[in-house]
Assembly symmetry: C2
Homo-oligomer: 330 residues x 2
């Protein structure tokens, strides 16, 4: 296709359509579709914008992608579109790295403070019109492990450090002198050092290596007073083993924004377990996030049309955007 030709862009939408697409529409034939119409809409398309970022429809529609060169997803985690046919193809995959970092960091600091200050109990007591004084915990000086050293993990580390906590990282490569984490431990040896931490925050990308990394062995290694926070992906956790660890008192609590099955099924014991905070996959979704996601796509679309290198190109083997060529994001 010559730059002068008008490309075909398919946009996979869910309940909501992306706002502010006028700039893109002036320079592409845009086909909006839902999951059902995706195969037809993919045929002859040059680019695919996965705006419905939790949709699992792309792998099934892939045989229709006869001309696709670029796939952009309105998310940081690319796991819904990371399947072998895409990985082996020449299609360039980009994500929305950076949009959610600081909002998620604020969310994590919020749940850490909610645990330390016993906010859930305060609210339950308030709902019961009951005045009951308790002592609470400090967060200053407490040890936090952030598992996942990409941009979201880094934003979490910076904010928690600013609030006085002691933060380390866990990633693919052990190292010292990291600007945000100081020390980064080897995520392959997680159970060996999990016992040192008061808070363990999961924010690793979901890959074959990270799937189920928080299971019985990991929880058994944590302090009985530890709180586990998941703002990454539900599949990082073996849910049944988390439930068992909470029941056995192997850890003290969990704040979970993501789940193996979303929405969390009504019969999940997590809804009602003491010490568990459930939120509906919203930690990064600050007011204005959808507009920002479209801005990120639009900026990349302009680069694509101008023949410039795209931003946020995912390493399809790793499953995320490497921070540096040597893979320091791991």
């Amino acid at each position: 296709m010559l730059a002068s030709e008008i490309p075909v862009l398919t946009v996979l939408c869910g309940a909501d359509s992306p706002p502010d697409m006028a700039a893109v529409e002036s320079d592409a034939v845009v086909r909006y579709t839902d999951a059902r119409g995706l195969p037809d809409a993919l045929r002859g398309a040059d680019a695919l914008f996965v705006y419905d970022f939790l949709s699992t429809a792309v792998p099934g529609a892939w045989p229709a992608a006869d001309r696709l060169r670029w796939l952009h997803i309105a998310a940081a985690g690319v796991d819904p579109v990371l399947f072998p046919e895409l990985q082996e193809s020449d299609v360039v995959l980009t994500n929305s790295r950076g949009v959610f970092d600081d909002a998620i960091a604020e969310y994590v600091l919020g749940v850490v403070l909610a645990f330390a200050k016993d906010f859930a109990r305060s609210l339950d007591l308030q709902r019961a019109t009951t005045w009951r004084h308790r002592e609470s915990e400090r967060i200053a000086g407490r040890q936090v492990l952030v598992v996942g050293t990409g941009p979201i993990g880094r934003a979490i580390a910076r904010l928690l450090r600013a609030a006085g906590m002691q933060v380390s990282g866990s990633g693919r490569r052990a190292r010292t002198g990291d600007p945000d984490f100081g020390v980064v431990r080897d995520s392959g040896e997680l159970p060996q050092y999990l016992g040192e931490f008061d808070y363990v925050v999961a924010v690793a990308p979901l890959t074959a290596q990270t799937k189920g990394m928080f299971g019985a062995e990991a929880f058994a290694a944590m302090k009985p007073s530890a709180r586990f926070v998941n703002v990454g992906r539900g599949e990082l956790v073996v849910t049944a083993e988390l439930v068992a660890a909470l029941r056995a008192g192997e850890i003290a609590g969990a704040a979970l924004d993501v789940f193996e099955t979303e929405p969390l099924p009504p019969d999940s014991p997590l809804w009602t377990m003491p010490g568990v905070l459930v939120s509906p996959h919203m930690s990064g979704d600050f007011s204005g996030w959808r507009r920002t996601l479209v801005e990120v796509f639009t900026a990349n679309f302009r680069r694509w049309r101008a023949g410039e290198p795209l931003h946020n190109v995912v390493d399809k083997r790793l499953g995320y955007v490497p921070s540096q060529p040597q893979g320091a994001a791991g």
Copy 2:
């Protein structure tokens, strides 16, 4: 009394007695009493340690204080012992300045994040087994006014700034270039600038000047989206006017740790109002606080016995410990 004489120390206790008093007991005749026994225990006493810091028993027992030279209160706010006869006497009043600062700052950051991230609604939805995604707010860049520029207000300002918020102060004397606040506005002109802020935090000492400073006029001046946080004293607020402002939508919410009447009466509308977080006067009470309070007293007791100047001497006219001779704590 000569230094070689053993002084009589009266300790006013509530339900709990102070821990770790052995060092003091080895150098004083210590009389532990509750409110009922206070007059008898005060007669002939050289010093009074008000460990039950919310007790209102001291003014009524004051005629029995025939020999008292020093009164120490296990609190930052001295309002329960600030009555005319004490103010006019030569009795030195000291407080527990510094013990609660950082814990209260963490609590305030926690409720700010609880508002921004809609935690109360998340917990209510969790209790109802309901998955409902919402957008949430960022805290970075939001404007905070801290009313009260003593050590607790300063700790709040430092922590909220570290978390990315824009913080100003309000105190007795307008000024710029404050190390913690940057700009400090004149608390006498509060309604003129309250409308600039997303969060208003009350942490002023309770004095004749500050009593009821948050009333109808102040709330009407705030943004409809503003949240009010009180970690100072309940009497800083005209409760009925706060309730009316919340009902009228003049402000969006309130996190209240202190109340005009404590415990908060069961029939108070505050328990059940949307947007209101009630906690039972616990914001500073980190695990170990009682031990720390006794340590602060013990250190001052040693100074007193050695004839050294006491720490945390309250200006009984102002009602708090001035930060600097010129009264910059105001």
